[in-house]
Symmetry: C2
Subunit: 135 residues, 2 copies
DNA sequence: GTAGATGCAAAGTATTTGCGACAAG
DNA sequence: CTTGTCGCAAATACTTTGCATCTAC
């Protein structure tokens, strides 16, 4: 088990409030990639007085602090996921919406090579595959 | 020179109106990746009576007809680009916003391989690299 | 004690839509 | 002709923000 979101907040100097603790916990427990609405729903079940504005503010803060990462998959709302050491990309089932996480070192290496070829240093990247399940 | 947007409309059964012809022309001439606002500005210079609703409706129609393709780069508005045979991905300069198009067959192949590994047939994909220029 | 966080409602963006008038095939 | 398109303004969806109050440190 790696660092908890709470300990990350402390090490990054992010003030911990009850609301943030709850949001952190819900995100830690999420195995999917909830959007703000869905996160707000889950959080509301624990503390119904948390406002959606706080959820928006918190995911943004957590993102800037490198605690969460934001995805903007095709045509949908922004979705969030806890950021851990191991980077991965996403394969999205266009029929069911299911999201599979994968890692491919080879692709990562090639991306760096491409950036390098144009004289750039890679600071970020986004790779999303959209597919349909084969029978 | 490949097929014009106009001829694509005809072959795809998309009704051609003055407005659509103008939008098609502006997109054909664009070497960048304009968002709807910018496209609306350019189009307005040719016919100031075209409404932004028509621009929205048209880019959506063209996208569904496979004439334009939509990009949702990090944190920005949707941007559009003419869709031609040769697929390419994008390298975005995070400082200047400049967009470089590139093709990497190797990466394309690996993407198919990844999808295949999980039992999926690739129908679409998105690869964006974000970098800063090296000195 | 004080800077920063929260809840609320109002304000922003980006995009879509209902409707009557109009134009393409 | 008839179906689909256009312009307009209103509506929607998502996200941000001003402000007064409250809370973590």
């Amino acid at each position: 088990m790696s660092e908890t979101i709470e300990s990350k907040c402390i090490s990054k100097g992010v003030k911990l409030t009850d609301q943030r603790r709850i949001i952190a916990r819900v995100m830690s427990e999420a195995s999917d990639h909830p959007d703000v609405d869905e996160l707000y729903n889950r959080v509301s079940k624990i503390d119904s007085k948390i406002s959606i504005a706080t959820v928006y503010r918190t995911v943004k803060l957590f993102e800037e602090s490198g605690i969460l990462t934001k995805h903007e998959f095709k045509g949908g709302k922004a979705r969030y996921e806890e950021l851990n050491e191991g980077h991965h990309d996403h394969l999205i089932d266009v029929r069911s919406g299911e999201i599979i996480e994968f890692v491919d070192e080879e692709i990562e290496k090639l991306q760096k090579k491409v950036a390098d070829k144009y004289g750039y240093e890679l600071v970020d990247h986004k790779l999303e595959l959209y597919g349909i399940k084969k029978k």
